[in-house]
Assembly symmetry: C2
Homo-oligomer: 652 residues x 2
Amino acid sequence: MTAQQPVPEPKHKVVLQPTGRSGLVAEGTTLLEAARQLGVGIEAICGGHETCNKCMVQVEEGLFAKHDIHSSASHLTPISERERAFLQRGDMPPGYRFSCTAKVMGDVLLTVPEESRAQKQVVLKAASGRAIDLDPIIRLYYVALDAPKAGDDADRQRVLNALHERFGLEEVEFDYPALRELSEILRSASGAVTLTVWDGRLVIRVQPAYHEQPVGLAVDVGSTTLAAYLCDLRTGDLLATATAMNPQVTYGDDIMSRISYAVEQSSGLARLHRAIIRALNELAQEASEQVGLKAEDIVDMTLVGNSVMHHLVLNLNPRPLGAAPFIPTVQDAVDLRAADIGLKFHPGARLHILPLEAGFVGADNVGVILSEQPHKQDKNMLVIDVGTNGELLLGNRERLLCTSSPTGPALEGAQVTHGMRAAPGAIERIRIDPQTLSVRFKVIGEDLWSDELPDSAIQARGICGSGILEAVVEMYRAGVVQRSGRFDRKVDASRLSRSRLSRSRLSRSRLTRLDNINAFVIAEAEQTAGGTAIVVSQRDVRNIQLAKAALYVGAQLLMRELGVDKVDRIVLAGAFGNVIDPYYAIALGMIPDCALDKVSSAGNAAGDGARIALLDKGMRAEAADVARWVEHVDQPLEDEFQDLFMAALSFP
Amino acid sequence: MTAQQPVPEPKHKVVLQPTGRSGLVAEGTTLLEAARQLGVGIEAICGGHETCNKCMVQVEEGLFAKHDIHSSASHLTPISERERAFLQRGDMPPGYRFSCTAKVMGDVLLTVPEESRAQKQVVLKAASGRAIDLDPIIRLYYVALDAPKAGDDADRQRVLNALHERFGLEEVEFDYPALRELSEILRSASGAVTLTVWDGRLVIRVQPAYHEQPVGLAVDVGSTTLAAYLCDLRTGDLLATATAMNPQVTYGDDIMSRISYAVEQSSGLARLHRAIIRALNELAQEASEQVGLKAEDIVDMTLVGNSVMHHLVLNLNPRPLGAAPFIPTVQDAVDLRAADIGLKFHPGARLHILPLEAGFVGADNVGVILSEQPHKQDKNMLVIDVGTNGELLLGNRERLLCTSSPTGPALEGAQVTHGMRAAPGAIERIRIDPQTLSVRFKVIGEDLWSDELPDSAIQARGICGSGILEAVVEMYRAGVVQRSGRFDRKVDASRLSRSRLSRSRLSRSRLTRLDNINAFVIAEAEQTAGGTAIVVSQRDVRNIQLAKAALYVGAQLLMRELGVDKVDRIVLAGAFGNVIDPYYAIALGMIPDCALDKVSSAGNAAGDGARIALLDKGMRAEAADVARWVEHVDQPLEDEFQDLFMAALSFP
C-alpha cells in the first residue's frame, strides 16, 4: 500500500439499557447514531433539529465516569442551550440528554426509555393485553431547509437531499399531490416542513413547520355494519371509533343480493360503490371530528371486508364471485391512492386493502387471523366471526381451515322487527324471569338495568345483535318458545296466574301479536324512546335460528375436515353489537360444545386486524403469507347441507 | 456428486442475418427464443399464439441443409396449419416461418427482416433523414388465458403469470384503472386480451382480443402555440398533427404576465391550469379523430414546454420562477398518470414531462437538444428556438450553453395587427417588388402564389410568424421602412409615379394608416376572406424588431461566454409558422453572421424532441443527463443588456 493509513478515530464503549447491547463507536458520534449502530432505534422525527424532543435518553454516567458523578460533560459534549431550556422548564428530567445533540466523548451507559424507542409496542386490547409492534408504514420527517440561493436545486430535490442526509432515505419519490403543495408550503414556512413518507420511499404530504401526529384509519366493511378506527400512527393510540350501517343494505340484505343488484341493475355497481364510498367518507369525517381533526388529516387507511364488499369498495364488478368457479378479480393485497376510489382524505393518502382468502372468505377474515392468531396456536382454535356473512376459522400452527356461512343480517339487528345496530339506546342485554316472565334489560349508553331506572329514563330505541341473541335464549329458557323455536301461547296465561304479587305491568300479558304474528314484549311502550313497545316476534326467532344454525353447520364442517370432534378454544368475534356473552352463544346452540371458560369474546376482530395492519407494516406481509396458506373449505352439496342445517335449527 | 448428470440436449448452430450473430441453441428452441439468446430481438406481441404475425423470418435452408433444398422440414419443425394458411393466402412469402412457431431441429441460417425486428429505427424527419431507435416505454402483450377452474388464481394473478411465462416479465403490477376493467373484459373476450404495459412493470390498460397499435401523444406547450403529434408507438408513424393557440394568451401574452396572473389573481393558477388542460384535451381529440381514433385510445404522452408552461401544466404555482433566486418546484422529469392533471385519455395513460434546464429554459429546450443533438457535434452549433420565450443553445460535445430571451409573441403572429397562427389561410411567404411595391404572397393550404390566382380564390385570413418576418425584411429592402425600422412615407409616391404600366391595383397606394399609425398593405380587401385589407403596421415592425433583437442579443451572449466570434452552424427552430427561410433570418439581423448554406431550419424541434422521447425510452434517460449537463447563462445586467439590445434593433 502506498497511501498513508488514516489515523484511527478514538472509539468509546457505549452500553444501552434495557437491551444490554453494547459496542465501540467513534468519538463525536451522536447518541442517536450510536444507538442505531448498535441496533437500537431511537425515535427522531426532526433528525437532529432539537425540535421533536422525542429522542431523550438517560445517561447513567456514574458507572463509567466515576471521577465526576455530577456531570456527564467529560464523556459527552456539553449541554446545548435548548437542552438547558428544557431542563429548566422541567420538560426534561435531570440526567437526560437529547440523543440527537449529545455526542460520545468517552464511555457511556445509556438507558433508552420506552417512549423514546423507535419501535414501540402498543397494547391493542385492554382486556386481553394483546400487544403489537408499532411499526407503521407512514413516518414523519421534519426538515428545515436554508433559503434557496441562485443556482440551487429545485425544491423537490432539496427536500430529497435533506431526507437523504439527515435520515438516510434513498430513492424517495414525490407523489403528485405532495409535489403540488410543496413550494407554497416551503415558502410560507420558511423552509421548515414536515414530510409524510409512505414506506420510506414516497412523499405523500407536506405540512408547514413541525408535526408529529400522522393519522390513519382502519376500516371494517361488513355487509351490514361499518366500523372505523382512527389511530395515531406514531403512538398507536386509538383516537376515535365510528360505526354506521352499510348503506348498501338498501340494495339487498346479503352478499348474494348485492351481487344480483350489481349484475342486473343498470348502474348497479356504480350505485353500490358510490354508496359505500360516501359512507366511508362520512365515517372518516365523524371519527376525525370527534378529536378535532379533519378527514383531510388522514394519510393512511387499511380496509378489510368479505370478498364482495372488497370488490364493491374497489368498484370491481362482483359478478364472478356469484357463480362457479368463483374467481375474484384480485386476491392479493391492493395498494393505491385513497383518492383513486373517491375517498376524501389527504389527496396523497394511501389505501391498503388486505388480501382475500378464497370464496367469500375475504380480507375481513385475514384481519381476524392477524388479531386472534390461530396460526400461532399449538391447540385447535375455532374463531367464529359473526356477521351477515359469517366466517369461520379452525386450526392451529400446522393447518388452518376457513369457510363462510350465509348467516343473514339478523345477528346485526337487521331484518329483525325492532332491530338496530349497536348504538346508544340499543338493548344489548336481556333477562326474563321464567316464573313471572318479567323482563329486565340494559341499553347501550346506560350502566343501570331497566329495573333500576324509572321507565321514562330508559328510552330504549331497539335491540342490537347481542340483545336479540340473549332475548331468544331467555325466551326459550322461560318456555315462551319451544325447542323447535315455535311460540307457546299457553305459557303466558299460566305465568300470569302465578304472579299474584305482581305490579300492574307484570300482570299485563307479555305475549302479543304484531301483523298477525306472535311476538314477545321486551320493552313496554313507557320504556321506549318511540313510545311503542319493543318486541321479538316469531319471525325474529326464526331468523336467529337460521343464523345460528348456519354458523353451527360451518363449525361442524371445519371440524370434520380437520378430523376433530371437539375444539380446544372458541373465539367469538363480530362487529354486530356489544361483545357476545359466551354463555348465550352456547345456550343458543350457535357454537360446538366447549367448556365455558374456553370460550371468549373478541369484539370486532376483523377491525382489530385492520388496525394491526395500519400500525405495523410487517403484519401486511404476514397477512399476505397467511392468506395464501389458509385452506378454504367449500360448503357441502345442497342435500347434505340441508340435513345438517335442519338438525342445527332447534335449540340444544 | 450423487445425482445423475442429465443427458445434455442436442444443440444446433443458428446464424442470424443481417447481424451475422451466431451460436448454438438447444434442439426444440423456437426461432424467436433462439434469436433472443443470440442477442437479436424479434417482435412478437402475441408471444407464440400465432396471432400477431409480426415475427416472420426467412429461413435460408440451402446453406446448411444441402441434402434437401426444397424444404426446411429436416432442420425445423413442420409448418403449422396457420402458417400454411398464411402461405396459401400469400400473406407470408415462401421460405418464411413464424419464429414463435418453428423450432430448431438442426443447423439453420435465418434472415430477420427489418419489419420483424423488435428494435427498429424510424426516420423522424423526411428532410434530414434523421433516424431514431424505436424503443417505446409502452409495449403491448397479447395473452390468451384458459377459462378459469375452481381454485384457480384471481384474474390479476393469472394475467401476471401469463406475462411471466410467455414474455419473461417479472414484478409487474396492475395500475388501478387496468384492474377495474380487467375481469369484465377478460370474460367478454373469453380470456384473450391485449395488455398495455408501461416500462415492463405496470399494466395500464386491458383490451379485448388482439391489438397492435398503442397510441401516444407528444406535445409542445408554447407560450403562444400548442402542437400535438399523435404517434403509433409500435411503428413510430406520425398519425396526425394538431396545433392551436395556447388559450392562456387571454390571461397574458408572455411568461412574465402569466406568472403575474397566477400570483395576483384569485384562482389565477387554477384558471391558467384549467385552460391549458382543456386545450390539450381538445388537441388530443382533434388529432385522434383525424385518424378515426378517440382520445381514450392514447396511453402515453410526453410533454415539453418552458419552465412556466411546465409549472402551469402541472398546476404548480409559477411564483418562484418570477423572482430571484428563480428556483422551480421540480426540475427533473416528472412521471405521473395523465389523469392526475385532468387529461382525458385512457384512465391509465401515463404522462412523462421532460426535465427543465434552468431559469426559464425548460423542457422544450431539452426537446430541442434531443432533436438537433448539439451535444453530439464536434463543431459549434447555435440552435435558436424561436417562440414567445425564445431559447438558445450554443456549443458542442465538450460544452453546451443555453439561455432564454423574451422574444414576445410577435413571431408567432400574436400582438400583430393581422397576425394569426400557422393555419390554413395564413400568409406565410411574402415578396415585394422594390420598383413598384407590388406584393405577392402565398397562404398556407394553397400551393400557388397570390399573383397566380384570381383575387377571389386567395381568401387570405392573416399573417403567420414566418410571413410577418418576411414582410418586414421585404419592406426594408423595398425602402418602405428605414434601417431604424421607421416607415418612409415618401417612398410610396415616388414608386407610384414610376409604375406607369401598372394595373389599377398596383397604382393604388400601398401605404395607409390604421388607427393613426402608418401601415403597409400586404393583401388587398379583395384578396382576403374577411373583405378587409391585411396590413403590417409601424407597431408590427417595432414588435418584430424587438423580437429579433432579443434573439440576436441572446446569441451574442452565448458566443461571448463560449469565447467564439463566429459559429459553425445555425439551426432555426420554432412552432410559430412554417419553417423560417434562413435567408430572411439573416436579412432581418435575427441571427449572427453565418454562411447561408450553414443555416438550416428545423421546424418545431422542441416538438420533435417530445416525439423522440415518446418513441424511445432511452432518450428519456439521455434527456435527464443532458438537462443537468447543459450550462445556463444568465441575461446580463440591465444596463449592459440595454446597450446590446439597442444596437441590435436596427436592420443590418
